[in-house]
Amino acid sequence: MMKILVCVRSVPLPESSFRVNGAGNFYDQSELNSQVNEYDLFSIEEAVRLKERFKDVEITVVSVGPQRVDLEIKKALAQGADQGARIDDPQGLEKDSLSVASLIAKWASDKKFDLIFCGLMSQDLQRYQTGPMLAQLLSLPCATTIVAMTVSDDRKKIICERELEGGVREKVELLLPALVSVQSGINQPRYASLSNVLKARKIKIPVLPPEPMPGLKPGEKTGRIYLPEKRGKCEFLQGGPEQVAEALLEKIRGKANLFSER
């Protein structure tokens, strides 16, 4: 049996209108609709493909956060994961990566997962930290930014392609157990089938107490969150499509001779 863990984060829809909370140290989370972090969808898809290939594979999804993140765990189950677990930390979504990794590491340390997936980054906090930290805390080899992967037939190792800058790819081999963090483009996640959605609804999600790894100091602290300053002043063109199109053409015509004479 191959045991796979997928770490899933609940994030607000990126098109949300974000406001700063009263304390000024996070975005206001009330009234935001949530989704599974996009990068974690790629992880789940990759895990499900391994299950299709090797059959005796068990996929567990874990998420750290308040009760409402059960919604995203259910979505992950509907994508094809077998079971879920929620580490019940009301502050789980605001906490620094080291603290989140510490909670997952402590819980996972005796579960003997063969392969752990994280997303390259969370869409809301964009830290790129949690995966590699979790690997370090569990003393696992790790590769980030993977855009292709192959587990060997004997399931003893995994060969990953990491995407570097400028179209260069690095091939790296990790002995299992290992952790990988997934970059977009590795696959096209499937839509959940109706039968899977119904099945997922019935699965009970165990609620686990938040226990950190012993002896770890806290990590990064967020002081203040605010709206970014604009670099230049953006002039917004107002009116209906035709009016705006006309106004826009006036502006860009003055800039340079841009129109083809054909």
């Binding site: 975005y27 830290r127 790790c142 690095e170 602290k221 953006c234 499509p241 035709e242 006309e246």
Partner: protein, 323 residues
Amino acid sequence: MSGKIIVIAEQFDGKIKPVSLELAGFGKEISQTTGGELIGVALGFPALALAREFARASGLKVIGLEHPNLETYNADSFVQALSKFIPGQNPDYILIPHTAIGWDFAPRLAAALNGSCLSVITGLKMDGRLRFLRPICSGKLMAEVEPAPDTVAVITVNPGAARAIKPDAPGQAEFVKMDLAETATKNLGYTEAKRGALDLTKAEVIVAAGRGLGKVENLELVKTLAGLFDKSAIGASRAVVDAGWLPYEHQVGQTGQTVHPKLYLALGISGAIQHLVGMTQSELIVAVNTDPKAAIFNVAHLGVVQDLIKFLPALIEKIKEIK
């Protein structure tokens, strides 16, 4: 804590990458407020030549860390070497480029040193104490982050966050041989993506397609529009390339091409930092997006809050009228 700032250079194929000099520039900004000493580090095999190159280009004193396992990048070996070397230096700040290599080992190093990791840093602020800036929520918000008290800060600095350092004179270089154990990670080498024929840097007008187009069929509108401009090319966000709507050679951004056309039309592109680093040098940036809060409007000169599906046909008609 000694106030010391360690700048870890990135190398590829035995050459120091330019991003390392920006990193040193960022280090200098920190030291100008804290007064801390700046020291460069380069990992490799052999290490002395690398250390010399970085010392010459940056003006910093540079220490090379040498071991055969460091010849090409290997996360485990990097973390091993640095967690042996760093404690003796007792720095306050460790700077690493926010690149696919940097973000691969920096968080692990921070965990190994029980320090704080501050990632994707695009700037700093000094008001009583140093704070570091990271764009979050697709660039719609900024976060000010800082290390936990009395911990070393491992900071990944975003490319473009600082100017390259200008050395007054070359720095001193030395190297130490490291004693490293075998690892469960093996670097199997590098491959280069096939370069497409498309060179976006030659275009004067780039009409760039984003996920906001909704579906691949709507690309036709983008193609028609681009066809109406002289010396134009079609650009794309990564989301569009990932979805298979356009091949990789169209991608603009951190993992695509860096462009600076006279006119950049961002159509249904949200303005994620990884896209922005590839196009903010454009002379005139026009953004069309239904979301007035989209981060693309923070860099755009002209903003159009419209549904592309209605707006693009109107724009195409108007251009045809003038011609």
